[in-house]
Symmetry: C2
Subunit: 213 residues, 2 copies
DNA sequence: TAGATATGTGAGGATGCCCTCACATAGGAG
DNA sequence: CTCCTATGTGAGGGCATCCTCACATATCTA
């Protein structure tokens, strides 16, 4: 392996043109990662898709890992913003609405940004801790949301419940691959029902949970 | 790329020694995949771990994909056997027991065979359809189990519900990475509760679902 | 034992990839 | 206009990997 990153590569952009390049490179990288997976896409491909030279790519990203981390950081910020919005609206929602919103927020983001899933998966193999950090912060948001929605048990530790909700949100994302469409939609409905039942139970609701067909 | 698989590589073992070698190679490959991930492990490493020469490895597995597929096939058979056992025992179980067994069966397998998760993940990028086939057959087993446990709605399409149960089982596997241990166990308990609630609801049970602390 | 087939070996060809470097151009500051 | 820094370029070095091939050895059959 040639000694890596020995020169002054990896500098942040300073002029307008640099910022535009970086944006284009990040976008191109996302496309490539979605198309071929993280490991299979090469730096040369990314540069080609961005219509930049390979040297230009290395000017801003000294490494493929650095590129992935930058992208993951972007996605993290976007997701945090969505969770903030969810948190602010939680007090006005019924259990059903909360379940629907939790599942749709995550699933919608994945549809808009298909690279996100590829990146978090790749992050497990990468040396960076960013993936773990994101998961933890997302769970913290869920804890806050649950504390609002289930105030009776808010005194206890909400992290186990938040972890379960997090897994169900991940499931909603995974359902995007289901075929045919009718099955996918039916499964999404069932998943909503499962989450609603769980949230009802968490909040201590004893009313019948079978009011929706 | 050198023209691949042009010679008579990839033959099945015929003598006792060949079978032993194949077993050793598969085991070594599993270890490597778990340790470094599918993409990152090299054929040379696998051969070294098996204390075989690289040529010996290629004698039986013409390609890294073929190796992965053989392993995945083994895991599939083992999982099918477990699902058969589950199916046979389902009639005697309560909802709680069924939920526990479903979650533990899968989670236990992953603990015994950590390579399985790595392989199914890698299978998504691979050209083989084996991963999809396994998921479908697992879902079919779940449909049968649900048909026994929720006979009232067995006339309808159980696949959406089976898909949800499948996702929850996957979640149980994912929880294995949670730290610290106390949180993991609490989360597993919560996941069991979520599945129990869902199965109760599926079966049309109206009795209180909050009988367990 | 002799012949036939299965199995074992590892150097090395071919390939593709990551990344560097020496140099060219653009664009803003004084 | 001049200088200085930021940005752009792409050939190619160094290297790891996949896989082959010509040949050696083990194991079975008759």
């Amino acid at each position: 392996m040639a000694s890596r990153n020995s020169s002054q590569n990896g500098r942040a952009p300073q002029r307008r043109r640099g910022h535009e390049r970086v944006a284009t490179l990040l976008s191109a990288a996302s496309d490539c990662f979605v198309a071929k997976g993280y490991d299979a896409t090469t730096m040369t491909e990314i540069a080609a898709k961005a219509e930049a030279s390979i040297g230009s790519l290395y000017q801003f990203f000294p490494t493929k890992e650095a590129l992935a981390e930058a992208l993951l950081h972007q996605h993290a910020e976007a997701l945090y913003a969505r969770m903030e919005r969810l948190l602010a609206q939680t007090p006005g929602w019924t259990t059903e609405e909360l379940a629907t919103r939790l599942l749709r927020t995550f699933a919608d983001y994945r549809r808009q940004q298909p690279a996100y899933v590829v990146l978090v998966e790749a992050a497990q193999t990468l040396p960076s801790m960013l993936g773990r950090t994101i998961r933890q912060r997302m769970r913290d948001y869920l804890c806050q949301i649950l504390a609002i929605h289930a105030p009776d048990i808010a005194a206890g530790d909400l992290r186990p419940a938040a972890t379960v909700v997090q897994q169900l949100m991940k499931s909603a994302v995974a359902l995007h691959g289901e075929q045919p469409v009718a099955l996918r939609q039916a499964a999404q409905t069932q998943l909503q029902r499962a989450l609603t039942l769980y949230l009802h139970d968490l909040a201590g609701t004893r009313e019948s949970t079978r009011t929706y067909a």
